[in-house]
Symmetry: C2
Subunit: 375 residues, 2 copies
Amino acid sequence: MGFTFTLEATDGIARAGRFQTPHGEIPTPIFAPVGTQATVKAVLPRDLEALGASLILANTYHLHLRPGDELIADLGGLHEFMQWNGPILTDSGGFQVFSLTDLRKVDDDGVTFRSHIDGSKLRFTPEFAIGIQHNLGADIIMAFDECAVPDDREIATDAMNRTHKWAQRCVEYHYSAGNPEKQALFGIVQGGIFPDLREQSAAFITSLKLPGYAVGGLAVGETKEEMLATLDVTLPLLPEDRPRYLMGVGRPEDIVNAVARGIDIFDCVLPTREARHGAALTRAGRLNMSNKQFERDTNPIEADCDCYACRHFTRAYIRHLMKAKEILGLQLLSIHNLNFLLRLVRDLREAIFAGTFDELANTLLDRWVQKNPAT
Amino acid sequence: MGFTFTLEATDGIARAGRFQTPHGEIPTPIFAPVGTQATVKAVLPRDLEALGASLILANTYHLHLRPGDELIADLGGLHEFMQWNGPILTDSGGFQVFSLTDLRKVDDDGVTFRSHIDGSKLRFTPEFAIGIQHNLGADIIMAFDECAVPDDREIATDAMNRTHKWAQRCVEYHYSAGNPEKQALFGIVQGGIFPDLREQSAAFITSLKLPGYAVGGLAVGETKEEMLATLDVTLPLLPEDRPRYLMGVGRPEDIVNAVARGIDIFDCVLPTREARHGAALTRAGRLNMSNKQFERDTNPIEADCDCYACRHFTRAYIRHLMKAKEILGLQLLSIHNLNFLLRLVRDLREAIFAGTFDELANTLLDRWVQKNPAT
C-alpha cells in the first residue's frame, strides 16, 4: 500500500503520528486548510508552504461544476493545476450536495439535485463521486455519504444505512476502476448523535478495511456536548493503526477537545472565512480587527506569532486595511489565522511527545472558556 | 541636499539616471506602483520588493480621510505604517479633490469640497496639502495644483495661474515648516494642451528651483496626440539635472512614448486595476483572462516572464480563478501586471545605456499598434 500510518506517540488518548502519502508525509495531529475551488482563498501556495501546511483540502462538488474534473484531469490533475505539490484531500461532495443545493431528491442509488451556480440538474452516485475524485487525483479521497441532520433518529438511521451501502459501492468502484496505491479511500462513520447507531456504523465501515476513517455528520448543528459525546463513543471503535479524520472542524477549542479524544486530521474554512470577516484568531480569543480599540495599536495581531503578518504589521495598519476594505487586510489575516491553527496542532503534537498534552489542553481551554472563546 | 539626480546615459532624448532619496536610490526611467490607501492593492510588500519595485505612490487625499495623516505620523510615518522601506511619493491630493469629490468650490486660497466617503465638508489649501504630506513623510511630495480640463483655454489659464500661486505657497510652507533634506518637493507644470501656457508654466515652476518637476494635467481626457505634443513642448523647458515625472500615466505605449520624450518617472493604477478586471498585460497585447480561449491553455500568461504567476501557473488555472471569482486570480494578475511594467522600464533603461532605445521602442510600438494595443 502506498499509504502508511505510523503511530509515534500517545499521551492519554491523544495521538501523534505520521501518514505517508505519495506527495509527502503528514505529521498528525494536523489541520488542513480548505481550498474549496482549488485555491485556499487569498493565500499564495508559496505562503501556504511557508506556513508549514502539509495537507490541504479541495471540494469535489465545486471542482466538478467549475472548471470540471475532466478538464483538471486533462491538464495533469489537481496538484499540477493548483501548483500544490504536497498531499491533497478531496471530500466526497456529500456535504455540499446536502447543504448547498436545491430540489434535492435522495434515492437508494444516489442524489439528484440542482447546481448552486446555474440551477442545472445533476446527479451524484457513489461511483460518480469517486470517479470525479479519480480525475482530481488527490492523495486522500472520501466515500460518498449522506450527511443528515444529526438529532432525528429515523432520519439518522436511514442516512446511515444508505451511507453504508454507498460506502461499499465506493470501495468496489475505487478498487476496480481506481488506483489505491496513489489514492487512499477513507470511509465515513455516520449515525448522528445516537451511540448505538455510531457503534453500528463504526462496525460496518471499519469492516471495509480502509486506509483511514472519518467521523462524519458532526459540526452540523448538534451541541458541543453532543459532538464530544459522539467522539467519546465512536473513536474507541476505530482501529488504532489508521488515521482518524474529523471533517469540517476547525474551532480552536474543538480541535483541542477532539485531539484529546484521539482525532488526527481536521479541516475547516474557519481561518480564511474569519479573515474575510476581519477577525483574527489568537490564544487570547477572537479579535475583530475593525474595532476602534485597535486604531492606534502598534502591537502585532499576536505578540509571539511568527507569521509574516505578525512579524511586520501593526494592529493599527490591519484595522485600517479592513476599514478601507483593502484586500491586503484579508490576505494578512488569512496568513495569520492559518498560522494560528497550524501552530496549534504543532504545539499539541509536541505536547503529546513530551507527555504534557493535558497540561497544554487545559491551559488553552481554561483561557478560551473563561475569557473570550476563541470563536 | 538629501536628494541627488544623476544623469547616467542618454539615447536621443531618452534618459537613464538615478535619483537618490533618504530611503534608497530610484533607477530611472521608473514605474511606481500605486498604493492609494497605503497598500498596493492585493500585493504583499515583500512581493513588491521581489518584483524590484523601487518607488511606490500613496494618496494624500485618501490617507488624510482614512486613517488620517496625524494618526500615521503618530505611529511613525507612512514607511513604518505600511512597512515599505523603499522610496515613497505622495501626490498632492489635487487630482482626487478635482475628480472624486462633490460640491467643489475653488477660490484663490484653496478648495472646499465634500468627502467621497461620508460627505463631510473639507478644505484643502496649499499649506494644508503640504502639512498632510509632512505627516505622511514620503520621500517625494507634490505641490498642490489645480487639475482642470485640458482643452478649454480660459479654464486652463485660470487653473495654471492658481497652480503657480499655490506652488509658491507650497514652497514657502515646505521650506519653513518642513524638512527639505528628508522630503523633496516637486513642482507641477500645468497649462492644458496649449503650448504657450505650458511655456509660461514651465518658466514659472522651474524658477522655484525644486529638486524635481512633474508634468500635470495630462492623461485626463486629451487625445494621445495632444498628450505627446504637450510633452514635446514642455520637456525641453525642464532642467536636465532634475527628474521629470508624468503623473498618472501607465499604459505601456504611453510609457514608451514618454520615455522617448525624456520622462523619468511614471505612476498609474492601471496594472492592479486591470488585474481586478481579469486582464493581463503582455507584450503581445492585453489578454482578458476570463475568455473561453484560455480554458485549457497550459501556457503561462507570458512565456518569457519571470514573475511568480508565470513561473508557476497556467492560463487555464488563472482563467478558472477569475471565473470562480477567487481572490488569488487578481493577486496573481496584479503580480504579473506590475512585473510587466517594471520589466518594461528596466528594458527601456538598459536600451538607453546600450544605445538601442529607438529600436526597442519601435519594435514595441509597432507590435502594440499593429496587433492588439496593450490597453
